[in-house]
């Protein structure tokens, strides 16, 4: 759901950039204060993994493809929505500047949708669902689905404000496609969390582990 430069007027892109920069600043502060150097290998590997996953367009039928976003995965594993803002921002910078995937003036909107909205929705819905259900896979699946679906709805509203998409058709189409993509996002997110939990339980946020998992490490 990378918005290209041609889809949003420059002045509106600037507004999204300003809002995004506030969150980017907060994410840099998070990285500086909360990110200890022991977690650095996981952060770097997640950045590489999210970049690779986002380059893989999976067929979702209906003449459409979609790729993972990864905001929920990063936020859940590292235990902060700002982790998603941090990693998604640097992935979007590489994609936009080197590969023209997502625009430059629209990068702020893309950071806002996938990093900020995806990260916050993914993190807090996971936290709430995990407390309510006690199940990591169920909570992570739903959180990842929401972190794919809601940013797509946000993008359709931004594109309506830009005069590019009509509101209703934009929301129906963006919502439908990303509801399907979200199912794949959910499955891969749960699988990736299990994988990271098994190889490095010490690096995974405590919120992910079951209450008695202290013995696993």
């Amino acid at each position: 759901m990378h918005i290209p430069d041609a889809f949003i007027p420059i002045w509106q892109g600037a507004i999204y950039w300003i809002i995004a920069l506030v969150f980017v600043y907060l994410s840099l502060r998070w990285a500086k204060n909360e990110l200890n150097e022991e977690k650095l290998p996981l952060v770097a590997v997640l950045a590489a993994g999210i970049f690779a996953l986002q380059s893989f367009n999976l067929p979702v039928s209906m003449g459409t493809s979609g790729h993972l976003v990864g905001g929920a995965l990063v936020a859940i594993v590292l235990g902060s929505p700002f982790a998603a803002v941090f990693i998604l921002t640097l992935v979007l910078i590489v994609q936009g500047i080197m590969f023209g995937d997502g625009g430059i003036t629209t990068m702020g909107a893309n950071i806002l949708n996938m990093g900020v909205v995806g990260g916050f929705v993914g993190f807090y819905s996971f936290k709430g669902l995990k407390a309510a259900t006690g199940s990591m896979p169920v909570s992570a699946f739903i959180a990842a689905w929401l972190a794919c679906f809601i940013p797509a709805i946000c993008a359709s509203v931004e594109l309506w404000l830009a005069g590019t998409f009509p509101l209703e058709m934009g929301m129906i189409a963006m919502g439908l496609y990303h509801a399907v993509i979200g199912v794949i996002e959910g499955v891969i997110t749960v699988g990736a969390i299990y994988l990271i939990m098994n190889v490095r339980p010490d690096m995974v946020d405590q919120g992910v582990l079951p209450a008695k998992a202290g013995a696993v490490a």
Binding site: M1, D5, F7, P9, I10, Y25, L28, R29, A31, K32, E37, L40, P41, L42, A44, V45, A47, A48, G49, F51, A52, L53, S55, F56, N57, L58, P59, M62, G63, T64, S65, G66, H67, I87, L90, V91, V94, M98, F99, G100, D101, G103, I104, T105, S156, L159, T164, F165, P166, G170, I172, A173, M174, L176, Y177, H178, I181, R200, P201, A217
Partner: protein
Amino acid sequence: MIDNKTLVIGGLVIAILIGVVAVFLASGDPDGMESTALIIQGQKSLIGPTPPDAEIQENLEGKFAYSAPMPDYSLGEGLGSTGGILAIVGGTVLAFLVAIGLVYALKIAGKKNPPDGIL
């Protein structure tokens, strides 16, 4: 438990494998946003297939234009899938290095400034 070296090498290998497989297996259909644009321009139905000649008409008035060095994760027609692999592997490694560089830069900047510094 695996050590940090195995985590980094294993993680990079998995990421690069995903990217290489993507070059060959990724769907050529437009993504959700492009599909939506095609529907709005009357070139596609909501759940129907995308016609092979469908193309998004862009209104560039008042918009910014930028030419990326490797558009669409490709190094141009001549290099084909080899170019695609090089582009994706390069991007994956670059994302990895930018993450490490950024964290180190923040930590070094942090040591120079007192805790109430700018960041």
